[in-house]
């Protein structure tokens, strides 16, 4: 295992330029790509996430670190297949049909990505058929749905039903969230998990994947 102290420090600070340069240094030194990802980037983002949930750092600082990680990822992603790199899990995410709000959903995406998940974001106003089609196409581990309006919440069970009809419901774990959504509602519509904010979405996703 290599020493990623300088890289880690740059990700903590959100210093994109230095972090990208340090990633390049590690690659030039023939460091293992999985090692850079796991012990350089994700390990740092775990620390960042931890400092965020303890209230030591604020959202913009956490997101700058996540953005820094993304920039570093651009360098190493092309080598994933060749080196057999694995992610924590594949997540398909979107705001449900009828709903155009996306701030919360975007936060969840960024934090999950920081935690090592691979994210496919379908955007807003995503109809059930589109969720189904994408599930069939990319075979994600988790489908995450968001709604801000109580009037669009019913799109969640409709999407679950559509996944069921297509025979893929049991191949994925389903997570839901958004202002009017409750744990009780998640149970009622037989989703697998509810998260009240972006931080808990990451820990729920990890639990669903059997990692902690």
């Amino acid at each position: 295992m290599s020493d990623f102290q300088a890289l880690s420090e740059a990700v903590h600070k959100g210093d994109i330029k230095t972090a990208v340069a340090e990633t390049q240094v590690a690659m030039d030194a023939n460091a293992n790509i999985q090692d850079i990802l796991d012990n350089g980037l994700i390990a740092t983002m775990d620390e960042v996430g931890d400092r965020f949930s303890k209230g030591i750092i604020f959202v913009p600082q956490m997101l700058r670190s996540a953005k820094t990680m993304q920039e570093c990822m651009k360098l190493i992603t092309p080598f994933f297949q060749k080196d057999g790199v694995t992610s924590k899990g594949k997540v398909l995410i979107g705001t449900v049909k009828g709903d155009l709000h996306d701030i919360g959903k975007n936060l969840v995406s960024m934090m999950m990505e920081g935690a090592g998940f691979t994210i496919t974001d379908l955007g807003v106003d995503v109809p059930p058929e589109k969720f189904v089609q994408k599930v069939q196409e990319i075979e994600p581990d988790i489908v995450a749905m968001s709604a801000l309006l109580s009037t669009t919440m019913p799109s969640m069970p409709l999407t679950i039903e559509a996944l069921r009809s297509a025979g893929v419901r049991d191949k994925v774990k389903i997570m839901i969230g958004g202002a009017p959504v409750t744990d009780k509602y998640a149970q009622e519509i037989k989703a697998d998990a509810y998260a009240s904010d972006a931080g808990s979405a990451v820990s729920r996703a990890k639990t669903l994947m059997g990692i902690s």
Partner: protein, 480 residues
């Protein structure tokens, strides 16, 4: 000759200079002219094109500033809201403040158990009835997102429930131009027809665009419906600092005002002269929890700024909030945050002030909070009255009598007897009793006393009922 009276100065908070107000307005115009916005309603898009806006990428619109200036001129400078019996109870003009509850909370604090639980239609009824019985709460909103009604008709049920439980003016939510038409029918049934409702509107719609700069079809549909029917509407987007808008308050206000101006232009094109309550919601997003704060000083500051902009530039009555908290229980934090916004909203002369009684940044409604705020408004109202300075209040005669008559005291002087009811603020729920009597009365805190008072009002207050004919008509519309 009779001496000239000394006018009473009424405390008034100003937070913007004229230069600041103009600079924010100019920035808002630059946003609509140069940046543009996404208009997803085809009818509104066509109206904007016809009026001289340019469009790129199907629905990205840039609007000449003069359209906004014209719309500001054609919208009425006063909105009179009536109660459901035809009395003008809320003249929204100049610096008149009116406080009311808020909409759509997912949870409420149960009056019996004190527990946070999911809201239902009975809660909407209770909040409306409580508002009806509180003298300083001028209008009702649903305070509940009822779990026990069909979700595709949720706002129609909530509106009908409010109608049955209060005669005060209502501020309501709708989903689209479909359910708002039903709500309009109900309102017409209450006052006896569309013309009567147009003359004496007792309702105001709350609709919001999505910050930044997005105008969904269903939202604009409601805006146009209200403009055509003469239903007063407010159109505040959630341009919260750091969330839907830049983190700095000036930029967040400029964006929110730009979005409001777009709404106003479409509104005045659809119904020139129809009433439009001006103003965005500019709170702040908490940078630890990402919660949009309801107890922060920022929101009180931006709405005070908006009231200044009304006086300097816009002339239209403004939308505001107060009496809410981020606290999860009705504790000291809830009291402190509620008092801060209640007092500053009145001191800065906001007009229609909603969300009174919210906890958990709008997640929980509380009957006890509303009851407490009724008293906080009374305190603030007293303060804003100022100090009348005249012969009677200077009381030199009383000072002469008491000062020079051995054994006399102010407490027994006629001047005290004649004046104390007006000269003092007399609290009902805030406790000033001596320790022993407080203890003997059960050592209650304010939450407990508000709980008792809310229960008393719900048990004893009688809401003037609607006729059976009206109630039947409403039921038909709700279920039809």
């Amino acid at each position: 000759m009779k001496p000239i009276d000394i006018p009473t100065f009424q405390p008034r908070l100003k937070v913007l200079s004229r230069e600041q107000a103009l600079a924010i307005h100019t920035a808002a115009l630059e946003i609509i002219e140069k940046t543009g916005f996404k208009m997803e309603h085809p009818g509104a898009l066509q109206m904007l094109i016809d009026a001289g806006c340019t469009v790129t990428d199907d629905d990205w619109v840039r609007m000449p500033g003069y359209l906004a200036e014209n719309a500001l001129k054609s919208a009425p400078r006063q909105i009179a809201l009536f109660d459901q019996q035809g009395n003008k109870t809320m003249p929204l003009v100049d610096g008149n403040p009116f406080y009311g509850t808020g909409s759509d909370t997912t949870f409420t604090l149960d009056l019996e158990t004190g527990q946070r639980r999911r809201t239902n239609l009975k809660d909407t009824a209770n909040f409306a009835k409580l508002v009806d019985g509180l003298e300083n709460i001028s209008f009702a909103m649903s305070m509940s997102n009822p779990e026990d009604v069909p979700i595709d008709n949720i706002y129609v049920y909530a509106f009908a429930e409010m109608i049955k439980n209060t005669n005060k003016p209502l501020v309501f939510i709708a989903d689209s131009s479909k359910d708002i038409a039903k709500i309009h029918q109900i309102a017409c049934a209450v006052v006896g027809g569309e013309d009567e409702l147009r003359r004496k509107p007792f309702l105001l719609n709350y609709s919001e665009a999505i910050s930044p700069l997005r105008f969904p079809e269903n939202v604009v549909g409601k805006l146009i419906f209200c403009a055509q029917k003469g239903i007063p509407i407010c159109f505040p987007s959630g341009s919260n600092a750091g969330g839907g808008a830049p983190v700095t308050l000036a930029g967040a206000m400029a964006l929110g005002i730009a979005e409001n101006l777009v709404g106003l232009v479409v509104h005045q094109m659809a119904g020139k002269g129809s009433p439009f309550l001006f103003g965005p919601n500019v709170s702040t997003m908490d940078m630890k929890s990402t919660v949009v704060s309801y107890g922060c000083p920022e929101w009180s500051l931006t709405q005070a700024a908006l009231a200044d902009m009304r006086d300097e530039l816009y002339g239209l009555p403004v939308w505001a909030y107060a009496g809410a908290s981020d606290s999860k229980t009705m504790d000291a934090q809830a009291g402190a945050e509620a008092m801060f916004s209640v007092a500053t909203a009145m001191l800065s002369r906001c007009n229609l002030i909603h969300d009174n009684g919210y906890l958990e940044y709008g997640g929980i409604s509380s009957l006890e909070m509303v009851t407490m705020i009724n008293e906080l408004i009374a305190m603030t109202r007293f303060y804003v009255q100022g100090i009348p300075v005249n012969t009677e209040t200077l009381a030199l005669d009383a000072i002469q009598r008491v000062g020079t008559t051995p054994g006399s005291m102010f407490l027994t002087d006629d001047h005290t007897f004649d004046n104390f009811m007006d000269a003092q603020f007399i609290p009902k729920l805030l406790d000033r009793s001596r320790y022993d009597s407080w203890e003997a009365e059960g050592s209650t805190d304010l939450y407990k006393r508000c709980n008792t008072e809310a229960k008393r009002i719900l048990a004893e207050h009688r809401v003037e009922p609607k006729s059976d004919e009206i109630l039947q008509a409403i039921d038909k519309i709700v279920k039809g």
